[in-house]
């Protein structure tokens, strides 16, 4: 209970102002496409040079949590996920916004973010020593199987057709191979200079989600008759809160999945939202409603991606291993003040460490308050005339893709992928499985190659990849996931056939 005694530090005037500023600034940065949490934290590091260590960390921690939550704003209202964490949020959130329920979607997303976030931080406070060992348990073979587990999700994720989902996933896997391969040292599919470093995931996200939508809006033209007026419904907070509580199942699955996946170094943040979304869909009695603007989808995705934040810091704080790019930047923020994370961090720098963690807890509440305030204003975006919105989204997309690494090449990649996706969508393919392929490809591939190298020096790949408790557990999960997908499609088809029969009779 040591952490309780450091809450006072958070409420010092300067610290609290920083927390407030970091939260509001983070929400705005997060809502800006292309400014990922990693970027936001990196941009703030120079400011912490002039602050006391605990103040600097409060600023960075607040920015980390609120940029992830802020990413939901552009994901829901504009269908541009600001970071991989927000992909799953866009799937149902944007559909809700199109119906005029943007305010409700944003309320749900901020509230469930806070629930997930608080639980994630509590895990960080109470279970750090236990979970630190867990983080180390994942070697290349396990990470490979986790990536494969992710691949099994591809077919069922946001697609009308299982086969088309898998095909989209394959295109994503292929796109992920472009660039210089760091493990075998070969160049693959580099037919333009901009591709040397591979396809940047943020640029790809923006292109695949935003551009088809821009083209869609433009193709409808300016004829007034074609513009359907969306009434933006006001949403009372209590109604949103009740809605969230009534979806307890989605909230708990999201939070638990997010916390578990968050701990695994190198995988966590990118796929927590998507895996939670898929799990919730599988366990939901309304699984056919997912992808059509179903609140459960938003709740699961957002609670997962914020639940991931606390646990993702565990390997960093106890073992000095940054488990995600954002954690690596935070490590920089610690080092600059001469603080070396490690098992004795909580003894040597108790005040700094606990104040930081406490501020993340309080930051969650501030995030909800300001997030909801922004939500009510921002939801009106749905009323903007299509032609203007299309232009606005396009400008944001170009700006976002460029700002990732100041490169016009990324903008070209973004536009090319977007135009390609526009035509693919005409044939019933969808962006989410494609993006998942793009994210999982490098994880699966690099861990397989590394595992193979290690296995070669040990007892061969069969023993390395197929034995050991953790490997076996993960393999059974993979098999279960595939079987479940077949079973649920079969059930859905049967139900469909039955209702069609009923209709014709």
């Amino acid at each position: 209970m040591e952490f309780l005694s450091y809450f006072g530090n958070v409420f010092e005037p300067v610290s609290f102002m920083l927390l407030l500023g970091g939260t509001i600034g983070g929400l705005i940065l997060g809502a800006t496409p292309g400014l990922s949490p990693t970027m936001a934290v990196a941009l703030l590091i120079p400011f912490t040079f002039h602050l006391a260590p605990h103040q600097g960390l409060i600023l960075l921690g607040a920015a980390y949590t609120s940029t992830i939550a802020g990413g939901a704003v552009s994901a829901i209202l504009l269908n541009i996920p600001g970071a991989p964490a927000n992909i799953a949020t866009a799937l149902d959130g944007h559909e809700m916004a199109k119906r005029g329920e943007g305010a409700k979607a944003l309320h749900l997303s901020f509230m469930s973010s806070a629930v997930g976030g608080v639980i994630g931080v509590l895990l960080l406070i109470f279970l750090t020593p236990v979970l630190a060992k867990w983080a180390l348990a994942f070697g290349p073979s396990h990470l490979f199987w986790i990536a494969i587990l992710g691949v099994t999700v591809i077919g069922t994720l946001d697609s009308k057709s299982f086969v088309k989902g898998l095909l989209s996933g394959c295109i994503g896997l292929w796109l992920s191979m472009i660039g210089y391969d760091d493990i075998q040292g070969v160049q693959r599919f580099i037919f333009a200079d901009a591709l040397t470093g591979g396809i940047n995931i943020i640029a790809a996200l923006i292109g695949l989600f935003a551009i088809p939508q821009v083209l869609e809006m433009l193709s409808k033209g300016r004829a007034l008759a074609d513009i359907d007026v969306i009434t933006v419904r006001q949403q009372s907070l209590t109604a949103s809160f009740r809605e969230m509580i009534s979806n307890m199942k989605a909230l708990s699955i999201g939070t638990i999945t997010g916390s578990i996946i968050g701990i695994i170094p190198g995988v966590g943040g990118q796929i927590a939202g998507l895996v939670a979304y898929d799990q919730t869909k599988k366990f939901s009695s309304n699984s056919h409603k997912f992808g059509t603007g179903h609140p459960e989808g938003v709740i699961a995705a957002e609670s997962a991606n914020n639940a991931m934040v606390g646990p993702s810091l565990i390997p960093l704080l106890t073992l000095s291993i940054p488990g995600s790019p954002t954690a690596a930047v935070l490590l920089g923020g610690l080092l600059i003040h001469g603080i070396f994370p490690g098992p004795d961090l909580f003894q040597n720098h108790a005040a700094v460490a606990w104040t930081f963690i406490d501020s993340m807890l309080i930051g969650q509440f501030l995030m909800v308050i300001f997030g909801i305030y922004i939500a009510n204003l921002a939801a009106k975006i749905a009323q903007v005339p299509r032609s203007i919105l299309a232009a606005g989204v396009f400008i944001l997309a170009v700006f976002g893709a460029y700002s990732v690494q100041q490169s016009m090449g990324d903008v070209h990649v973004m536009i090319a992928l977007g135009v390609g996706m526009f035509f693919l969508e005409k044939f019933g393919f969808s962006a989410a499985p494609l993006v998942l392929g793009l994210i999982l490809g490098p994880i699966a591939e690099s861990n397989f190659l590394q595992g193979n190298l290690i296995a070669g020096a040990q007892d061969g790949p069969a023993i390395y990849f197929l034995t050991g408790t953790l490997n076996l557990v993960l393999i059974s999960l993979v098999i279960l996931s595939v079987l479940f997908a077949f079973w649920s499609t079969k059930k859905a088809n049967a139900a469909l056939a039955k209702s069609e029969q009923g209709g014709s009779a």
Binding site: T38, M39, V41, A42, I45, P46, F49, L136, A137, F138, G139, P140, G179, Y180, D182, I183, G185, Q187, D193, T196, G197, G198, N200, P265, G266, P315, L319, S320, I321, P322, P325, T326, A328, V329, L331, G332, L335, I336, H337, G338, F340, P341, G342, P343, D344, Q405, Q406, S407, P442, S446, Q450, L453, I454, G456, A457, Q458
Partner: protein, 321 residues
């Protein structure tokens, strides 16, 4: 017509180039391209060593960082060699031996001659690390085991043709053993995680990161791939030479600033006079020390000599690969 145009453009270019005198340079902020992502060691150190650039007695203009990560640094340096303006307002951070080794292996748009060094700020030697419960306690034990079990010793490092890989190659050559070098995608941190978690038997990593991991009690450091011991951070760890391996400092990760070839000489002269002074600022030194980042300030002449020497050693070492 084309010829006349070409002559015209060339003369215009010449006139503008000669008009750039160092007198009023710099008039606006200077960008530094870093070929690695935000938060990495190079990025982090580049931000620290340039933080006092805006002071009146330094460059008088602030320096900002542009991250151009990808393909182990190739993306950033390709861009810098082919597209960066040669007006002194775009500098880049270099990592030796990385970019020299990459240019020897080919497939990139630069060689060591595409760039003009300004000054060096840091030198991070490679060290050999093993997990805290490892059976190896000295370099000799590790090499003896590797000799008894050829092709069985797994060694993690940050990637291909970076300092860690060079050190691994040198150790293999010096000891005459075959080991398995495992490059990771997530840089030095992922390579360190592989050692701590026991995914690999040993690893090559940065001295600064290994020092931290040792303090956290997760690794043992067996040897430093440098000409002398590191007195500040690891006075008790022997060099690989002391451990009986003929390994020099070719794998030491030197970091510094450079400009593209073709930048006006007056500007290069001004920068190479001012930048080392900026690196030596006491606030910079304090931050670098706090972060556990070893500093080594070298002027332009010294860096030129170091680059030339690396080029020879690395060409020799990478010949067979």
């Amino acid at each position: 017509m084309k010829k006349i145009l070409a002559i015209l453009t060339m003369s215009v270019a010449l006139v503008t180039a000669s008009m750039v005198s160092a007198g009023d340079y710099p008039e606006r902020p200077i960008g530094v391209a870093v070929s690695y992502g935000a938060g990495g060691a190079t990025d982090f150190q580049a931000r620290i060593v340039t933080m006092v650039a805006g002071n009146k007695d330094m460059l008088g203009q602030p320096i900002y960082i542009i991250n151009k990560p990808g393909a182990g640094g190739r993306v950033g340096w390709n861009w810098f060699a082919s597209e960066a303006e040669k007006d002194g307002y775009t500098m880049s951070a270099y990592n030796v031996p990385h970019f020299i080794a990459q240019s020897i292996k080919g497939g990139v748009k630069y060689t060591a001659d595409s760039f003009e060094p300004i000054a060096n700020w840091g030198a991070d030697p490679a060290v050999v690390v093993v997990g805290k419960d490892s059976k190896f306690n000295t370099m000799q034990e590790l090499v003896a085991w590797a000799k008894a079990n050829p092709g069985k010793l797994t060694l993690s490092g940050a990637g291909l043709f970076v300092g860690h890989h060079i050190a691994a190659l040198q150790i293999e050559k010096a000891a005459g053993v075959k080991m398995v070098y495992i490059p990771t995608k997530g840089g030095g941190a992922a390579a360190m995680k592989a050692v701590i978690a026991g995914d690999v038997l040993a690893g090559v990593n940065n001295l600064s990161d290994a020092f931290r991991a040792q303090k956290a009690g997760s690794v043992k450091i067996l040897g430093v791939a440098d000409l002398e011991r590191n007195k500040k951070f690891l006075p008790d760890v022997p060099t690989l030479k002391e451990a009986g391996l003929d390994v020099d400092n070719a794998s030491v990760n030197f970091r510094g600033l450079m400009v593209p070839k073709g930048t006006p000489k007056a500007i290069i002269d001004k920068l190479s006079a001012q930048v080392p002074v900026m690196f030596a600022h006491k606030r910079v030194a304090k931050r670098m020390k706090a972060g556990g980042s070893p500093m080594k300030i070298m002027n332009r002449k010294e860096v030129q000599a170091m680059w030339a020497k690396r080029k020879t050693t690395l060409t020799e070492l990478l010949k067979g690969l």
